[in-house]
């Protein structure tokens, strides 16, 4: 059984919000719900401070606090690591939103379109058809794409059709997707790097979404090389 994981390279991310937009297009989420989002944050301590584009989505934790607190077992974890919400079981108590350390969950209060009094657009009507109101939504690594792709014999992370929408739409190629348990996969190689990190590991969530820092620290024991002399 694979364990799906994602690596986001903050050095490559240019903050174009393409992941956020493609997620909305793929999942037809109502206003206010951004299952994939980009936060521009400040990191470091003065005077070494900079701004970083931080793309966020559900971290698909191996040890998900949202699953533990869910009183109806609506939030479940699949064997491949994907944490998803069974909207039929969800009663909208929002305890998972309280428990999630990453703010990856959204409550859908009402079926509302983007254009107010004009009503729903045809796209929204189709997209919202299967959605319920009064439930909590979260990113599930586009499990519909993964499952459909696997059924066709495709490899998620390699074949576009079987890969989450935010990953294939990333124009900076800052997002990588694949099987973390396969030692030959690209994501496994990236996660094995010393600089790869998980967000707030102190919460004990052990996320399957990993990050590479916005700058690489190069720790060298060798003496600095002299720049080539001009003749």
């Amino acid at each position: 059984m694979p364990r799906w994981g994602m690596v986001i390279d903050l050095l490559k991310c240019i903050g174009c919000y393409g992941c956020q937009t493609s997620c909305k297009a793929e999942n037809a989420t109502p206003p206010g719900v951004t299952l994939a989002r980009v936060e521009v944050t400040e990191v470091g301590t003065y005077p070494n401070v900079t701004r970083v584009n931080l793309p966020l989505l559900c971290m698909q934790c191996n040890n998900p606090p949202c699953e533990q607190v869910c009183p109806t077992k609506a939030t479940q974890q699949r064997e491949d690591g994907i944490v998803y919400v069974d909207e039929e079981k969800c009663i909208g108590c929002k305890y998972c939103m309280i428990a999630c350390p990453y703010g990856a969950r959204y409550f859908v209060e009402e079926k509302r379109g983007y254009f107010g009094d004009q009503g729903l657009t045809p796209y929204e009507e189709v997209g919202y058809e299967e959605q319920r109101k009064g439930v909590v939504l979260k990113c599930d690594y586009c499990r519909h794409r993964i499952d459909a792709g696997l059924a066709k014999g495709l490899t998620p992370g390699v074949d576009r059709e079987a890969t989450p929408a935010c990953v294939i739409n990333c124009m900076a190629k800052a997002r990588f997707f694949g099987d973390l348990d396969d030692p030959n996969s690209e994501v496994a190689h990236l996660v094995a790097r010393a600089q790869a990190f998980q967000l707030n590991p102190e919460f004990g969530t052990n996320p399957n979404t990993h990050y590479l820092p916005a700058g690489r620290s190069i720790v060298s024991t060798e003496p600095p090389t002299k720049p080539p002399q001009k003749e």
Partner: protein, 308 residues
């Protein structure tokens, strides 16, 4: 950086925490009162507390996205404190309901003479009432990513506040019921006078508990404490919770205690009760609102170049 208060669970959850705490606190006070021999005030307190707890659950159901499916909340007691709370509160309503129906109204005679059965039922109810006060603190206290709540003192604070607001509810309801039904006796007056002294001490402890709490969580949740002490919530915290909710009732109770006036006639408990209830609600609201998430830690991106 301006931090926004927690906005997932708002006033409806605060109203539930407050009403359930008040009801359970009144039940605790009533049962202790019965054990101490004050029968009529105990009956009033229990008959007020149990319906208050039952009523409080309406706020929980109202807050749900799909209120008609609320009964599903009991499906995951293995790990979810909402499911566990569902059972604890249901048990309190059921056992407390039995005490109320069989002892207070409409079948008051059933338990009136059977002291052993009554004591047993009351002991069970007492346990679930204490559990109701405490579990709400655990419910939000287990969330590791919200450090303002993630503290073992929170259930203690909730228990103290629940008993205090329970006393507030008794202060408020007893004179009214007493004058309406004409059962204001010297027994009730003595009971209220004792409660006033007890609550005065309890409120001092609550003040100490709030101080200790803020000191304890400050290291891990400086943003949340800042929000309460000098941020958006500071007015409600200083003026509302500490001023109107703690200081005013302590002063009222102190003067009532000093003057030794007959409580059944005086307005002191009624007024103190209103302030106690107000402070109790504000405390739940403020604790909920201050439960903001820890900031996300992004590894710093600075390069360490060789030669630098």
């Amino acid at each position: 950086m301006e931090t926004a208060p927690q906005s997932v669970w708002r006033w409806k959850i605060a109203a539930y925490l407050f009403l359930a705490g008040t009801g359970a606190g009144a039940v605790i006070v009533g049962i202790l009162g019965d054990f101490a021999g004050y029968v009529i005030p105990a009956k009033i307190a229990i008959a007020f507390g149990v319906p208050a707890v039952a009523f409080s659950t309406l706020f929980l159901i109202m807050d749900l996205g799909r209120p008609t499916k609320f009964f599903r909340a009991m499906l995951h007691p293995g790990t979810s404190w909402i499911s566990r709370g569902f059972f604890i509160v249901s048990a309190l309503i059921i056992s407390g309901g039995f005490v109320t129906i069989l002892w207070v109204w409409p079948f008051g005679s059933v338990l009136g003479s059977r002291e052993g059965v009554r004591t047993a039922l009351e002991a069970i109810t007492f346990i679930f009432a204490v559990a109701t006060c405490i579990y709400t603190g655990i419910l939000i206290g287990i969330v590791v990513s919200r450090p303002f709540w993630n503290n073992p003192l929170l259930p203690v604070l909730f228990l103290i506040s629940a008993v205090s607001t329970g006393i507030g509810g008794v202060f408020f309801i007893t004179p009214i019921v007493g004058s309406v039904m004409g059962i204001g006796s010297s027994e009730t007056a003595t009971f209220l006078t004792h409660l006033e002294s007890a609550d005065m001490i309890l409120l001092v402890f609550e003040g100490i508990a709030i101080y200790l709490y803020l000191t304890l969580v400050f290291d891990r949740a400086p943003e949340a404490v800042g929000l309460l002490l000098k941020g958006k919530l500071s007015g409600l915290f200083w003026g509302g919770l500490l001023g109107a909710g703690l200081l005013v009732p302590v002063v009222i109770e102190f003067f009532a205690w000093m003057t030794h006036e007959g409580s059944s006639q005086s307005l002191a408990p009624l007024i103190a009760g209103v302030f106690l209830l107000f402070g109790g609600f504000l405390m739940r609201l403020l604790i909920l609102a201050a439960g903001i998430r820890s900031p996300l830690n992004v590894r710093t991106p600075f390069r360490v170049r060789p030669g630098f």
